[in-house]
Symmetry: C2
């Protein structure tokens, strides 16, 4: 358990991280925004998945996911095929062009990181990667179990609008 001052300092670094993200965003190709890059990264990493799964991994509302995916489909980087098991669902899959785009993104970001972090040791890079992964995991855990009793664990909180369950007047 840490002290308040430590948390405050950590939050300051979180705020400052925006500058790093913007800097990285500036080297993206003009037809591939930061949001598109994130989607391609996730699909490369986790393989084919449904919209809802992608929305969960992105931790954004599914409406956001839907628009971003539509954008990327337009560019031919992913395809949406119908899910034979559930006709409401669609399966997302990276196309060969999508893999090429991902490779290009990797080249660019890797080159920038190699420049910027040229004086970092292997261990430091590995440690930062590990801690950021753990950070994300700590936030994910609490999202699926936000403070509820342990008797009701798998509530599977969906990242979407309440859907207005027929309270019409």
């Amino acid at each position: 358990m840490a002290e308040q001052a430590q948390y405050e300092e950590l939050i300051r670094q979180f705020s400052a991280f925006g500058a790093v993200k913007r800097e990285l965003g500036r080297l993206l190709p003009s037809d591939c925004s930061s949001g598109s890059a994130t989607v391609l990264t996730i699909l490369t990493r986790h393989g084919d998945m449904r919209m809802s799964k992608l929305a969960e991994l992105l931790a954004v509302d599914m409406s956001v996911t839907s628009r971003q995916v539509a954008h990327i489909v337009d560019r031919g980087w992913i395809e949406r095929s119908p899910d034979p098991a559930d006709k409401r669902s669609r399966i997302l899959r990276l196309t060969p062009a999508g893999r090429e785009q991902m490779d290009e993104l990797s080249r660019r970001t890797t080159r920038m990181l190699a420049e910027r972090l040229s004086d970092w040791s292997d261990d430091e890079i590995t440690e930062l990667t590990r801690l950021m992964a753990r950070l994300r995991a700590s936030f994910d855990d609490c999202r699926s179990a936000p403070a509820g009793p342990p008797t009701e664990p798998a509530l599977e909180q969906s990242t979407r609008t309440p859907a207005t369950p027929a309270i019409t007047k």
Copy 2:
């Protein structure tokens, strides 16, 4: 010097960090956006400064800074006084209400971090803070010396639109 795979993994964690930032953003008061919070944080941390300095610390265009600051001034959290040394400039200063708002933000974010990171050790939190600070520094360094010859170091690259230096036709 690290390998490509390490950089790629680090980039993945950078992408995923967006989810953490959104989660933290959700607990902000409705009248204080994430951008406002960042400005208040920087002013709390670094003290009074000019617009241009703030833009540099935020690593965004000054036009962005100008609008964000105007928003925060409207809420009474900072004041813009004229700079006696240069009538074009304005000095930004946190008001007492701004400090109170900052305290409230600290309380909220600290509480959330204490929840989410309850199983982290002090050392891990300190280490993550340190590495993120170093990350930011590594990016800052390269921004003021982007690849130019060492004979021309203090180019002081300003974060703003080129200003169209009278190339009018």
